[in-house]
């Protein structure tokens, strides 16, 4: 079975490590980390990913800008995106979803929740 490739775009190393811990419980998964939106864009356009977890508040390029650029790229149109952020306001959520995010999780995250959302987006039983 081909493995799932997941991209984590998050500026906090603490958060990245925590997400890697949670997602490693999925079998046959390959996780790539990016430290800001620009780094994420470079990695997502130069490779194939089955899922991207994107933070909103990041230096260089924020998560919303990254999402809009990903959704503007026809080859990346189908890639699911899950936003993980501290912003819990309804307008932030609606904005991210309108730009093309598929899921929206707020911090502090629970590993179970991340895992269940990732499974849903990757269509894993």
């Amino acid at each position: 079975m081909a493995g799932h490739r997941i991209l984590i775009v998050e500026d906090s190393p603490t958060m990245r490590q925590l997400l890697v811990f949670a997602l490693k419980r999925l079998k046959n998964v390959d996780i790539v980390e990016a430290q800001d939106g620009m780094d994420g864009l470079r990695k997502v356009t130069g490779d194939h990913f089955d899922l991207a977890l994107v933070d909103i508040n990041m230096p260089v390029m924020d998560g919303l800008k990254l999402i809009s650029l990903i959704r503007g790229e026809p080859t990346l149109e189908g890639m699911p995106i899950c936003v993980i952020t501290t912003e819990s306001a309804r307008e932030d959520r609606e904005r991210a979803l309108a730009l093309g995010a598929n899921e929206y999780l707020t911090k502090p995250i629970q590993a179970n929740k991340v895992l269940s959302v990732a499974k849903g987006l990757l269509k894993i039983e």
Binding site: S12, P13, T14, M15, Q17, L18, F21, A22, T86, S88, A89, T106, K107, P108, I109, Q110, A111, N112
Partner: protein, 274 residues
């Protein structure tokens, strides 16, 4: 006499053979009839005997009742076993959830501890502490204090949800923050959500200590709106931060100081040897 097989003798023999077969068949029918009569008679006799003897009926009834009781007992036992298996299954499911939660909590604690000790750069250590409070605890407005002047003054050195200047300098033993740091006990209260400059009280104050010596404090004034309160994991994180963040700050400052001293000494040696 003709020998072609159609003579009167041969024909007579053939007729006799037919009669013989008929007689044999008739005899067999009579025997079968007799056997069936006997069987019928035996069945009638047994039926009559059974119907007439109440003891047999009683014996049969007792035997059947006993079998019913056995089957009911067996059924009850199976139902009981099923209940026990279901209960065990439920216990396993609950235990699984508990272990999973514990695993998640341990992962959070491991990540926090790993990140705290991943650097000896003082500003990086402060950044890691801020990240832990934001991402793992869910603090929105908080300040990180470090002890200065022999530990008598708590000076704000990093903050989130406001600038460092918005958080007051605290004297050890004075006010809720100073008292918490002096006592070494985590202090928690009701948050007004206001910054300290507007009279806001901290929702929690985590004193940072190394070998009972105060090093600083993490003071949270407001939590993220999606955060309802503190969980058991948060309290574990407070304990971890109280020790590990203090050690990380202490070690990084000591390292920076030793590096500065080393550079000074090296410069002095270079000056003397040139």
């Amino acid at each position: 006499m003709s020998n072609d097989g159609n003579g009167p003798y041969e024909r007579g023999q053939a007729v006799l053979a037919i009669f013989k077969r008929g007689a044999d068949f008739m005899k067999q029918l009579m025997d079968d009839n007799d056997s069936l009569r006997k069987q019928l008679s035996s069945v009638e006799e047994r039926q009559e005997f059974a119907a007439k003897d109440p003891a047999d009926w009683e014996e049969l009834r007792v035997e059947l009742l006993s079998r019913i009781r056995n089957l009911e007992d067996e059924r009850e036992m199976i139902v009981e076993q099923l209940r026990s298996v279901e209960s065990e299954n439920q216990q396993f499911a609950e235990r699984y959830l508990e272990i999973e939660e514990e695993n998640n909590n341990l992962a959070n604690l491991y990540v926090a501890s790993y990140q705290l000790h991943s650097t000896l750069n003082p500003s990086e250590v402060l950044k890691v502490i801020l990240e832990i409070v934001i991402n793992l605890i869910g603090g929105e407005m908080f300040c990180l204090y470090v002890c200065e002047d022999g530990g008598e003054i708590l000076k704000p050195v990093a903050a989130e949800g406001g600038t460092v200047a918005e958080f007051p300098v605290v004297l050890l033993g004075e006010g809720p923050v100073g008292e918490a740091v002096a006592s070494g006990e985590v202090m928690s209260g009701e948050s007004s959500g206001l910054p300290p400059a507007e009279g806001g009280e901290p929702v929690v104050c985590i004193p940072l200590r190394v070998e009972e010596k105060p090093v600083g404090a993490i003071v949270i004034y407001r939590l993220l709106s999606q955060k309802d309160g503190f969980s058991a994991l948060d309290h574990e994180l407070f304990t971890l931060l109280a020790g590990h963040a203090a050690t990380a700050i202490f070690a990084s400052r000591l390292y920076a100081l030793s590096e500065r001293k080393l550079n000074t000494i090296q410069g002095f040696i270079d000056l003397l040897t040139k």
